[in-house]
């Protein structure tokens, strides 16, 4: 017997960045919000303190903050002629669980999309002609940079972002990213300190005519009171950022930046250890009536609500739609349907720089967003004529960590174990930096998400099935951007050797085994055409007007940037339209 609870105004699935932002904004707007989260309650103050949190085995290797595959995983294959098999162990990407979601173990690399990124199809078609997009499901987002800018700016003030503006109200500023869209306000905090390898990268990039700048960082550089009145503290460069929570209150996360200021709100209720199974629909199928979930005792509960917000991790939002029958599933045979369409990832490559003994990188001194970056080869910041691809990536000397189990850079041709390996690890550990190429990912018809026909999760539901390999476009893009990174690496001072790795190299297929990045995007994309998008430009489902969707599942294709900034800009944009329009008069906000 399913227990039915009293109706609430809004039910929110997931207590990560977007879920807690939705709860805060909607509770303030007078909406009674129930947030349902599958994982445990936790807090930076009580759960993430050093030195216990600085446990590489527990958090980076055994992944204690991440989703457990025994409760939630997906099946995977490179192409639809293979049989998908379960991703039995976490690897390539690390969805979170618990209060704060994956937002507690992010790095804090906080970007904005380029104005041209948000109108990718029309921009490329105008500049190069439609043919450059042949075979790609590249789309416009349906929302412009100018529309998102106030919301991107607000999120900078939620996080206390540290950086140097490159474009302040249209005026180009020295030391910032000259390619970025105009900012209405400067960064709230000054940039991070630059470690010796970052200083060398900056010098060389400048000499080569590029435009280096310090990566925008949500690792806060000064004591800062955020837009909601929460207090953050300066980063200590401890080197335990990605995979870890921050007990220093220095990495902006959903718990200290939002939860703490909404937790006592009369319109806010949080239910932990509760697994949402499906969104329920009305008899006519046109609206959602609420969600059914398993509570902390394993009892099935129905929570009715006027409005349903899907704020789970990108992949699980799509899964929830598919098992609930929301929207039309994508069919790769016919190209029809939209849920699961335009799944994309991130295309990563890197150059490793091995210095002589004059340069001390001390890699254990790091921060998640400690980087010196050029954006000269990202988006359409460079001429794509005759290059054979669209998109690009930023190139960044990053010093995020030197955690000793995982960080063993060795020069090319070093054996992978044995005496020579051991010697090389010892000699290079303190004298190395990685230069990452953080590349975009286009959507193509053959990469998609649907339900697996064979494998089921702990709740008896079919696993999400991922079919993905790197598109040819992105292989060409990655090789090109990597060649530029390698050139910079070889021109740097005091360099003895340079290594390269390209996850999207020709002849190699995408693998779920080695960690790449937790930037899974698409599958429930935003747009202005219901035949190619799941939600309209306000994040509202075309087929069910009281369902709003948040997160990177909205991205029509993935940017050359980390997703948290763009997806939070979209979240505040959606919440703005919910608060100031939809909730007064619930209806489809666009005509299908």
């Amino acid at each position: 017997m399913v227990r039915e609870l009293p109706k609430t105004d809004v039910v929110i699935v997931g207590a990560g960045w977007t879920g807690l932002a939705a709860a805060k904004e909607l509770a303030d707007a007078g909406q009674r919000c129930v947030v349902i989260e599958r994982g445990d309650w936790r807090h930076d103050a009580s759960n993430f303190g050093a030195p216990e949190e600085h446990d590489e085995l527990k958090y980076a290797r055994r992944k204690e903050h991440m989703i457990d595959t025994q409760t939630k995983t997906l099946s995977f294959r490179n192409s639809s002629d293979q049989t998908a098999l379960p991703m039995r162990r976490l690897g390539s990407f690390l969805p979170g669980k618990g209060l704060g979601g994956a937002g507690i173990h992010w790095n804090g690399q906080l970007w904005r999309p380029l104005p041209s990124d948000l109108k990718m199809r029309s921009h490329y078609a105008d500049r190069y002609g439609e043919a450059i997009l042949d075979g790609l499901n590249v789309q416009d987002w349906g929302v412009t940079y100018d529309e998102l800018e106030p919301h991107l700016d607000f999120f900078d003030r939620v996080c206390g972002t540290a950086g140097v503006a490159g474009n302040l109200n249209g005026e180009t500023k020295e030391g910032g990213n000259p390619f970025e869209g105009p900012r209405s306000a400067d960064y709230p905090n000054p940039p991070m300190k630059a470690s010796p390898p970052l200083q060398l990268f900056q010098k060389t990039a400048q000499e080569m005519g590029y435009h280096p700048f310090q990566m925008p960082s949500a690792n806060v550089t000064k004591a800062y009171e955020n837009a909601y009145g929460a207090q953050l503290h300066p980063c200590t460069y401890c080197g335990f950022c990605e995979r870890f929570g921050c007990g220093y209150y220095a990495k902006a996360d959903p718990i200290i930046c939002i939860y703490d200021v909404v937790k006592d709100h009369e319109n806010f209720e949080l239910r932990m250890n509760s697994q949402v199974l499906r969104v329920e629909k009305s008899a006519d199928g046109k609206t959602a009536t609420g969600v059914t979930y398993l509570d902390e005792r394993g009892q099935e509960v129905f929570q009715p609500a006027d409005t349903v917000c899907l704020n789970a991790y990108a992949l699980w939002n799509v899964h929830l739609m598919l098992v609930s029958g929301l929207g039309k599933p994508y069919d790769p045979e016919t190209g029809e349907g939209t849920v699961g369409r335009n799944y994309a990832y991130q295309t990563l490559a890197a150059a490793g720089v091995f210095f002589d003994k004059e340069v001390w990188s001390n890699p254990f001194m790091g921060a998640g967003a400690l980087g010196m970056t050029i954006d000269d080869f990202n988006g359409d910041n460079f001429d794509h004529t005759d290059l054979g691809f669209v998109g690009g990536g930023y190139i960044s000397a990053n010093q995020t960590n030197g955690r000793p189990i995982n960080y063993h850079p060795t020069p090319p041709d070093t054996p992978s174990w044995g005496p020579e390996w051991k010697k090389a690890v010892r000699e290079n550990y303190l004298h190395h930096v990685g230069i990452v190429c953080h590349g975009s990912s286009v959507a193509v018809p053959g990469n998609y998400l649907d339900l697996d026909p064979t494998y089921k999760d702990a709740y008896g539901q079919p696993l999400l099935r991922m079919t993905f390999d790197f598109p040819e476009n992105d292989r060409r893009m990655s090789a090109y951007v990597l060649s530029k990174a390698e050139e910079i690496a070889r021109n740097m001072d005091n360099v003895r050797a340079v290594s390269t790795v390209n996850r999207a190299a020709e002849g190699e297929s995408y693998s779920v085994v080695p960690y790449q990045t937790t930037h899974n995007t698409g599958g429930a994309v935003i747009g202005t055409d219901p035949t190619t998008s799941v939600v309209n430009r306000y994040g509202q489902m075309w087929d069910h007007h009281n369902v709003f969707v948040f997160g990177a599942c909205l991205f029509p294709q993935n940017l050359g940037y980390n997703p948290t900034g763009p997806l939070m800009g979209l979240a505040y944009w959606t919440l703005d339209h919910m608060k100031n329009d939809y909730l007064q008069n619930p209806r489809p906000l666009m005509d299908a």
């Binding site: 600085h54 055994r62 025994q70 000793p404």
Partner: protein
């Protein structure tokens, strides 16, 4: 009287290491010697000998300790006895099928049973890794790393090698609270100062940072971590030699 001796295991694996030349001196430095009266938690003696022999090919002794000297076998023993070895974080619902390398772990084994069955089948023919000389041990590990010439039934050779190598690195470089990285051997080797990390004033300086390592359970004034793995060893002790 224990029915087992880590010291005896060590003497046997000494063919490629310092122990063969100066057993007394090397033993004094060795984790096994200190733990000689402690029973294993998961491994048996022959599994321990195999893992010690293989681990010391992967990370041999030089100016810094070998893997086994740094407590890696003790670390692996505890890991296999604990949640990780028993399959925590591993989705083990069937059906099982041979996947592509890109699809990752597809065997029904837990890490502990993978390693137990893998070692048993590798040594099924009667030749034990521990009995080979240094060159032959290296050649064996080389072949194992490439998956060449082994049929281990439902134990995928590449997965077995990758799993052992991952555990060896974890044991050499993880915080000493887990039983490896004895006296910060791995951290001393590379210059990692440990878990107590506050670098605001140093991060932009081009200079060495010669702080001695301190782990999560560092005992002030000793240069060592507290042995927090001891309770787990006691809890999981096996009557086996």
């Amino acid at each position: 009287m224990p029915n087992f001796s880590r010291r005896a295991v060590l003497l046997q694996i000494g063919a490629s290491g310092l122990a063969a030349v100066t057993p007394g001196a090397a033993l004094a430095q060795n984790r096994y010697a200190a733990l000689d009266t402690q029973p294993w938690s998961y491994l048996d003696g022959s599994e321990a000998r195999f893992l010690a022999s293989m681990a010391d090919v992967l990370i041999p002794e030089d100016d810094f300790p070998s893997a086994s000297q740094a407590g890696v076998v003790d670390f692996i023993d505890l890991q296999l006895a604990g949640p990780y070895g028993q399959g925590a974080g591993l989705f083990l619902e069937g059906p099982f099928a041979d996947g592509t390398p890109e699809q990752g772990w597809q065997t029904a084994h837990t890490p502990a049973s993978l390693i137990r069955n893998g070692i048993a089948r590798l040594e099924d023919g009667g030749t034990r890794l521990v009995d080979l000389d240094a060159n032959d041990r290296s050649a064996f590990v080389e072949r194992l790393s490439k998956g060449e010439g082994f049929d281990l039934g439902d134990v995928p050779v590449q997965t077995l090698f990758d799993e052992i190598w991952a555990l060896v690195k974890e044991g050499y470089f993880s915080d000493p609270i887990y039983g490896g990285n004895k006296d910060y051997a791995g951290w001393e080797m590379i210059g990692f100062p440990g878990a107590h990390a506050y670098y605001t004033d140093h991060v932009d300086k081009n200079a060495p940072f010669p702080a001695p390592p301190k782990g999560i359970a560092h005992v002030p004034g000793t240069g060592r971590s507290a042995d927090t793995a001891r309770p787990l060893r006691a809890q999981t002790a096996r009557e086996e030699g």
